[in-house]
Amino acid sequence: MQNNAYQNLAKEFMDLWQKQVAAVISDKQFIHAMLDLFQSIQTPGHDQRNAAAPAHPAHTADAEPGLLAEFAFRLAMCEKRLAVLEQQCKKSEGKRRRATSGRRGSKKPRR
């Protein structure tokens, strides 16, 4: 029973994670970041001075630091989201453990 409960929760977690990824991919900010990245790959650094006017204001000479900053920001956001998710997992696990031990004495749920 315990195993099943965890398996069901794990399935639910994976489904939610997939939904989250799908939402991120169709997020305008993400799409713009990808376009930004794609443009920077398309534009070789040594040709940048001679290239025609860039389509996006971010693609000036300091495009690379800007891009790194964007990545750093996104990484930080991911870490933050992960921390929140872990926290929520721990909380719900604690609650479940307490509820289970209340019902079944001192027996601990298997992990």
């Binding site: 195993n3 990824v21 169709s26 997992c89």
Partner: protein, 369 residues
């Protein structure tokens, strides 16, 4: 809990890989015989599915073509004189044979059995002739002449039936070739590209020059890129379907049908750069169709102006052309007969309910017009 999540992730990945490997290991060859080609322009061919339509053939007067055929194959396959021919127009980015996938899963063969004389326009892959084509060229240099060719032989008007973006091409042709077209069927045809499902993919205008330049720099946009753009709207659809396939008994009919369909999905056609610009920029980004700004042969294409008998199929679970994307087209043609098959974009054509929910209603409508 972490252990359970890790195990679930491992199971899903293993199931996905097993599905993919089994798909690659499953031999498949489409055994459907191809009907005769009666006309050709560039790589596009007009395929005659009416040859098997015996009941109609018995009713109509057969005669050899009086017109000068653009292709030498044409005169060998005269079409029946009079009205009643249906010309199927598929999308430019997928092969026409979804309309005739397998012997028992074939909309075109079903219609032939019902006495409906159908032709299918196989666009083929863009070659030297089509290299610079946009939608305007495909309509004016291939579809239009194909309609003229049919009308030249039959001396009758034809019904145009477009599937997916083929519906948009059919709609434009119906407006431009009024004299030769008697009715219009639009199957899962997109119209409003700024519907809620597609809105996130409408990028800020500042990016458009870069995207346009990227597309314009290509000779053609490979089918794989087009497919991956569709996956962006539902990135897990690939994982779900291959995991389901992994769970199927390989000898099961459903497994065989999956392979047949998936081979078609993976047999996409590249887009010319100009078609890609039309579809990805003018349609998807600027929503020209819905905004009444789409022009073919310097004429605005306006569904409100088309008063022909019209049949519209809007599948209920269409993720490629969502309901709200197709709806404004139906609203612009209030006289249209509208059906809502309980299937997806492709399932509507070849799924288990296709015969009951699309083929039969379409045949009934065609008999009635």
């Amino acid at each position: 809990m972490q252990q359970a999540v890790a195990e679930e992730a491992r199971n899903r990945a293993a199931s996905l890989l097993s599905g993919i490997l089994r798909y690659y290991d499953t031999p498949y060859k489409r055994t459907v015989s191809e009907p005769p080609c009666i006309w050709q322009r560039g790589n596009a061919r007009l395929l005659d599915y009416g040859q098997n339509s015996l009941s109609l053939r018995e009713r109509v007067e057969m005669r050899a073509s009086q017109a000068t055929p653009p292709s030498p194959v044409a005169s060998r396959h005269p079409l029946p004189k009079g009205e009643g021919i249906v010309l199927f127009i598929p999308s430019l980015i997928n092969r026409y044979y979804i309309l005739d996938l397998e012997e028992e899963r074939s909309l075109l063969k079903f219609l032939a059995m019902q006495g409906i004389y159908s032709l299918a326009l196989d666009w083929g892959e863009p070659g030297a002739f089509e290299q610079s084509f946009g939608c305007n060229d495909y309509i004016t240099k291939i579809l239009g002449p194909a309609i003229d060719f049919i009308a030249g032989i039959t001396h009758g008007r034809i019904t145009l039936a477009g599937y997916c973006m083929g519906g948009n091409l059919a709609l434009a042709a119906a407006q431009l070739k009024r004299k030769h077209v008697s009715a219009l069927a639009l199957l899962a045809t997109p119209w409003n590209f700024h519907c809620k499902e597609f809105l996130p993919f409408v990028i800020d205008k500042q990016w458009l020059p870069m995207v346009k330049a990227l597309i314009a720099a290509q000779k053609t946009l490979p089918a794989e890129i087009i497919q991956s753009l569709f996956y962006m709207t539902d990135p897990w659809v690939f994982e779900h379907k291959f995991r389901r396939f992994a769970d199927l008994d390989p000898d099961n009919r459903a497994a065989k049908e999956f392979v047949a369909l998936e081979r078609w999905v993976n047999d996409g056609v590249p887009m010319t750069a100009n078609v890609a610009l039309d579809c990805l920029i003018d349609w998807a980004q600027e929503n020209q169709l819905e905004n009444n700004k789409w022009q073919i042969a310097n004429k605005k294409i306006d569904p409100k102006k088309i008063k022909l008998p019209t049949f519209i199929a809007m599948p209920q679970s269409d993720h490629v052309v969502p309901h709200d994307c197709a709806l404004p087209l139906a609203q612009a043609m209030p006289h249209a007969k509208i059906i809502h098959p309980s299937a997806g974009h492709v399932g509507m054509i070849v799924g288990h309910k296709a015969k009951k929910e699309l083929w039969q209603p379409l045949a009934t409508w065609l008999h009635g017009i």
